[in-house]
Amino acid sequence: MCGPVLAVLGTLLLGISLSAFAFDIESMPTPAQQKRYDGLIHELRCMQCQNQSIADSPVGLAEDLRRDVREQIIAGKTDAQIRESMVNRYGNVILFRPPFTWSTAWVWLAPFALLLVGGFVAVRIVRKRSSLVASDDSIVETDEQAS
């Protein structure tokens, strides 16, 4: 009973995961444009499937956004202009690399703050340990004296 069901499920899942990759990324007229295109579509979020880039997603919206990027590159827009046009329509959330602003500062600074805290804690522990070792030695000495 379970076997056939699992087999069918497995086949379905395989179909789904394969179909997720069954799309072609459109190509650009020149290698330089192709390079910019590949870069841009990997740093723009697919808003429908939010943890994928528009390069990774087969959904219609990602396809439309790739077309938008392609057309803007061909129209002579710079990468910064293309990113800006995306942010104007979808907000900063469409960029996988958020810009450094007041509202995003903590995202960028938190790792360094945590590193400082971690370093501080580590130094404290090491200091405490070394004072422990010193007192251990004195105990050993007294033991030797006692024996």
């Binding site: 808003m47 429908q48 939010q50 219609g60 919206l61 439309d64 956004l65 938008d68 942010v87 104007n88 329509r89 979808y90 907000g91 959330v93 938190a110 805290v117």
Partner: protein, 177 residues
């Protein structure tokens, strides 16, 4: 005492950050439109079921209106359809339909079968206007004020409650009939 004070402070700080993160996580229904307060993107689209006719954003200027993004392929659009019909019966704000990446025939069939709540429906067959509006999932409904600025965007099925709370409340008092 300070043995516990520092870990407790760290815990509280972390809990605070995570709480804010969870509360403000990009929930599909709460993601704010990047267009809020900005002028509607320019568009000129063919009117559904009216070959040769088109509608532009400038034709809608001067009074508040509502843009509803839908498609016959969109299940949640079927869910909100009854609410849209009720809203249309109130006759307070013109409902403009944006038929997103759809077949004209399927869209016309849908309106004939379920009823047509829209003052006018435009066909965005290749989805360019939807992108300009920052649409990421149908249904989405925008409130545009008389100055042509986007004042609110609702993602997900429209309900009588949301209509009352987020759309009617944004109408200027003077504009009420």
């Amino acid at each position: 005492m300070s043995r516990f004070l520092i870990p407790a402070a760290v815990f509280l700080a972390l809990a605070g950050v995570l709480y804010v993160g969870v509360v403000h996580s990009p929930n599909k229904s709460t993601m704010q439109s990047a267009l809020l307060g900005k002028t509607v993107p320019a568009f000129s689209l063919p009117v559904l079921g009216n070959p040769g006719m088109s509608l532009t954003n400038t034709q809608l200027a001067g009074r508040p209106w509502v843009l509803n993004v839908w498609g016959t392929w969109c299940v949640a659009c079927r869910d909100e359809h009854a609410a849209l019909l009720d809203i249309a019966r109130q006759n307070v704000l013109p409902l403009v339909g944006l038929n997103w990446k759809d077949e004209d025939d399927a869209a016309l069939d849908w309106l004939q079968q379920l009823g047509n709540p829209y003052s006018v429906v435009v066909a965005d067959r290749d989805g360019r206007t939807a992108i300009d509006f920052g649409v990421y999932g149908a249904p989405e409904t925008f409130f545009i004020d008389d100055a042509g600025r986007v004042q609110y965007r609702h993602v997900g099925p429209m309900t009588a409650e949301i209509w009352q709370r987020e759309f009617l409340s944004r109408l200027p008092r003077a504009g009420l009939p």
